[in-house]
């Protein structure tokens, strides 16, 4: 291989070499960091809630008619709503609950094992009726759910009474790291209220505060004139077509209120909206950047081929075959690209250090950098191939002209 002559000829066209090296290096640095940001964000986007998101509708109702200021009327209305929603064709399960999946909203409370001191565990807490677990599609893996009697009694229960609760595995483990949480007591941070764990669910993920996997469900009706009431409906098929019927059914029961319906998939998409936009933006930037760089390499290699027509002609006249010419230009390009890649790896780590320090994000992994380097090598060679082939077509006769 003619490394020596190629290297010496590179030294004669320093401007071109510096340009390609700089372009490749910067491109690699940017691509590696974009990839790293994308992988980091993707991991969060892929996290499932554990619920049957695709078949769930969240309904928020808010009363405005003065008749509904009476708490007893509202309580009765909730029972009517639950019955009515369950009768709509295509509905699989209905729940009245304070849980707001994918809405970055709800209650966070601090709980502890009674009698212990130190940092309490922070957890989401939500009121639930007996139908919640069926509606979300999360089975109770240990213990039991709530009874209708517990739910009916829950909201009016005095503070002194020990309430049954269902918790997620993450909360159970946080409170009782050695296992066996079922049947054990829990209290709020100041121990004014006591609970007993009667059931544990395995699957629960609702990003909110720093408590995404921890939840404590209490059996209680949650309805008030100022905050309304909330239902989750699980459908047999596609939930969207059922929404007008559900709205009509609820307004048929009581029209002195607002009813808002939303599929869980919509809420989830909105929740992920900015992250998805980020991933799309990074992808677009990467693709355009690679395109620009590839065009640049094509352009520069073309000029170098055009400049050296006579030189190619001479080599061909002296016996070099076409393959030798192609090899020459590819090798030359590979050497330049390699300089760029080496410099680019350093730059990538430098840029990553800057981004992690001053902005945010994850550290660059070796695999990401390696993938970026490999991609740039391939792109560099691919971009040089066209001009090199064109160079190989220069006829030997060129060498004899204009001398």
């Amino acid at each position: 291989m003619e490394f020596g002559p190629i290297f010496r000829s590179l030294l004669r066209s320093r401007a071109r070499v510096i340009l390609i090296v700089a372009e490749v290096a910067l491109t690699l640095a940017i691509v590696a960091n974009c990839l790293s940001l994308i992988l980091d964000t993707r991991a969060q986007l892929a996290r499932p809630s554990g619920f049957d998101d695709e078949h769930l509708i969240a309904i928020q109702t808010n009363p405005f008619d003065d008749r509904l200021r009476d708490q007893k009327v509202l309580d009765r209305l909730v029972d009517q709503d639950r019955r009515t929603l369950a009768t709509v064709a295509g509905v699989r399960a209905v729940s009245h609950t304070g849980l707001r999946p994918w809405e970055r909203s709800g209650n966070i409370t601090a709980v502890r094992v009674p009698g212990t001191h130190g940092e309490p565990a922070r957890t989401q807490s939500a009121e639930a009726d007996p139908g919640l677990f069926d509606t979300l599609g999360i089975p109770i893996v240990q213990g039991r759910g709530f009874t209708e009697a517990e739910y009916d009694h829950g909201a009016d229960a005095p503070l002194s009474e020990v309430q049954p609760v269902v918790v997620s595995r993450a909360l159970a483990d946080a409170l009782y790291p050695n296992g066996g949480a079922l049947g054990k007591p829990v209290a709020d941070a100041e121990e004014t209220q006591r609970f007993t764990i009667v059931g544990i669910v395995d699957r629960f993920y609702n990003p909110f505060g720093n408590t995404s996997e921890k939840v404590m469900f209490q059996p209680a009706r949650s309805v008030g004139f100022d905050f309304g009431s909330r239902y989750l409906v699980r459908t047999q098929g596609n939930p969207a077509p059922l929404m007008p019927q559900l709205e009509k059914a609820l307004l048929g029961v009581e029209k002195g209120r607002f009813v808002q319906l939303r599929t869980l998939v919509d809420s989830r998409d909105e929740f992920h909206g900015r992250d998805r936009l980020l991933v799309a933006s990074l992808n677009a930037v990467m693709a355009l950047l690679v395109l620009v760089t590839a065009l640049g390499i094509v352009g520069l290699t073309s000029f170098s081929v055009a400049e050296r027509q006579r030189q190619i002609g001479t080599r061909r006249a002296l016996g070099a075959d076409r393959l030798a010419i192609v090899r020459h230009f590819l090798l030359e390009n590979w050497m330049v690209t390699s300089f760029g890649v080496v410099l680019g790896v350093l730059l990538a780590y430098g840029l990553n250090f800057g981004i992690v320090t001053w902005v945010a994000g994850a550290k660059l992994s070796l695999a990401t950098v390696a993938a970026g380097a490999l991609a740039l090598w391939t792109i560099g060679l691919g971009a040089a191939l066209g001009p090199a082939l064109r160079g190989a077509r220069v006829p030997p006769a060129i060498a004899t002209r204009n001398v």
């Binding site: 620009v292 065009l295 640049g296 902005v359």
Partner: protein
Amino acid sequence: MLLYNLRLAWKSVRRYPVLSALILLGIALGVGVSTTFITAYHVLARDPVPGKSGSLHYVRMNSWGVADDPFRQTPPPLITWRDAQELLKSRVPARSTATFASRGTVFPPDGTRPSRQSLRLVTADFFPMFDVPFRYGGPWSREADARPETVAVISSALNDRLFGGANSVGRTIRIEKTELKIVGVLAPWRPRVRAYALVSDPLGAPEPVFLPLALTGPMELRPAEFQMSWRTPAPGEEKLPYASRLLVNEVLFVGFWAELPNPESVRAYRSFVDAYVTEQKKHGRFPHPLNNRVTSVLDLMAELKVVPPQTKALAVISLLFLVVAALNLIGLFLGTVLARASTVGVRRALGASRWTIFVQHLVECELMGLAGGILGVLLSLAGLAVLNRVYGDGPKGVAFFQLDVPMVLAAVVLSLLAGAIAGLYPAWRICAIPPARHLKSQ
């Protein structure tokens, strides 16, 4: 001379159409991508209350009562109703306001179906503090806060819906059970970052209704955004009227802003807040070490990361993209320029000076830069339209990210700069070539 140079540039574009298109595309992509993401960053990071962000200060204090204190480092983002009422009495700040968001049913005057709206509870000072623009009428008076009077300020969108856009000052609307007199209608107003709601939902739209804070008790308005409490209500407390409950409960839901025009007043106000908390400690409140914060708007924005870090990262990355595009350009220009070396040789031999040749090629590069820049701005409009599908206020709402004059100017300067940087070296190379070398080979 310029005209002659422009004509030469046009000729060279026509001679290398594919290459010229590539150059144009390169600049357009570079300027388009960087303008898009720098605009996204600029819209979020710029001063949300121009000229006043330095003087508006947010007040935080740690009233958390139990032994377990999640706010050891940073005090909670909101304060209690009772503390807000005490702070409002201070005359140290030029202006001050306490605020929270609620929700309520608005009954149209014509008796049609009511609607549920977000409400913002504020004091009279709020409007001048945050430069809220009015179309009709104006804010209520400080006396209206004190009494309190049943008055309201509504947004221009709500005024359009309820009153067909007419001047509705003096008319009344009913919210929940209270009849309120409209004293002001806002001009269309959509700050991209709501300085007054930094801790809850800074990118949301302003509420359609503003009410005097003192109506909270009488109208029984509950906080609709987040609230925190460390204390379970004492027995019997739930039975008290709402207005009295507000004065004894320890629920944190109020944001507090003070306008402090100079460093002396900031210092004076800090010692006032410290003195207030020390005084409260005597009554058994504020058990934790003194940890009060009086923070300016821009500092609070930085602390709360109102600009998502990813937006910053993208702005940096897109600037580097522009650098790559410019490097690319140098290469392409170098190619087109050197390909014409023999023509230049003839021109030099016929008497053109180096300077003439240099200027000629620089003009050509600048022309390409400018054309690419204009194309780039158009591209960034498309890019921003994509971003707006996620950030905007719904399909008919305001486009969240918009190019403003400074950003367009920045894009033009950027593209001229790219043209200059990319053109200098090739132009210098071509004018430095001795004419004889190229004449010889003809």
